[in-house]
Symmetry: C2
Subunit: 169 residues, 2 copies
């Protein structure tokens, strides 16, 4: 019986293996600040609203940027689990992930320059529903953690360039 | 005339400066994989749907995890610009940010272990609408880039621990 997801992964793998140029892509986010801390984002036509909670002057119209980082890591783990379980034929009926991040706002508020503004540490708790044996499951964990794109970006620095320009009001 | 945002920032600053314990917080993301690559996320009650595009087996019900990273960085830059412009009384009428990330899928697909699975580089383009002089604007750029939480997390490694447990189906 054919598994559409396995077929799609296998087809993408063949495409990228055969032609490196087709494996390269650029993703874009466009956003604009509205009133207060609210920002409206467009991602390939998917809309997203980001805001800060009421306590620090926001309108709480959506999650904060650092919460998006937690969501990015949790969902990236889940998708990477499904992709590799499918590719390796390891049974996996379900994946649920909780991600926590500890922050000290004295970093962002420039109260203490020795405190980083981002999360000081993050904890990922993965719950797998599977009939695979322990060895297969541990093999899956290891390969997922080596290939999860968001985990990679949080643990190995990404070269980021920033440019600023002034525009007319 | 009182600026509610300036008042909120100033009140938070006083609170965190006066009591380090109140400056520390933990944020949480809870998510669960559904059919295919779709995941439904809860962030303090804010709901978010993440998915992969059709091309690699997804249903395109929402942005991908790596697109969330772009959105997190773009909106974090915007919010940090507004916060510091307000705190420093630098006029800032608008902020719009475009973030691009270059990826080579041969990393995620484990075709070439020398290629990282995450973005190989990211570009942030910030457009500011301001009547401030060039020197004040450059001062703002510098302080924002030193205190933007998401920029920090992408450029300085975050300690991440992952734990896996098996749950009943």
């Amino acid at each position: 019986m054919s598994d559409p997801l396995a077929d799609a992964i296998s087809a993408a793998d063949r495409k990228f293996r055969g032609d490196a140029a087709r494996a390269r892509a650029t993703f874009t986010s466009e956003s604009r600040l509205g009133a207060g801390f609210r920002s409206d984002v467009s991602l390939r036509g998917h809309a997203l609203t980001v805001d800060e909670p009421h306590g620090i002057g926001g309108g709480d119209a959506g999650p904060t940027p650092v919460e998006l980082v937690l969501a990015a890591l949790g969902t990236c783990q889940e998708i990477t689990y499904r992709a590799f379980a499918t590719a390796l034929s390891i049974p996996l009926a379900g994946v649920a992930v909780t991600v926590e991040g500890d922050i000290d706002f004295r970093g962002f508020f420039a109260i203490d320059e020795a405190i980083r503004p981002g999360f000081e540490r993050m904890r990922v708790s993965v719950k797998l529903t599977s009939t695979a044996d322990d060895q297969a499951l541990q093999r899956l964990v290891d390969i997922v953690n080596r290939h999860c794109p968001v985990l990679d970006m949080l643990t190995t620095p990404v070269p980021v360039t920033t440019t600023m320009s002034r525009v007319a009001g």
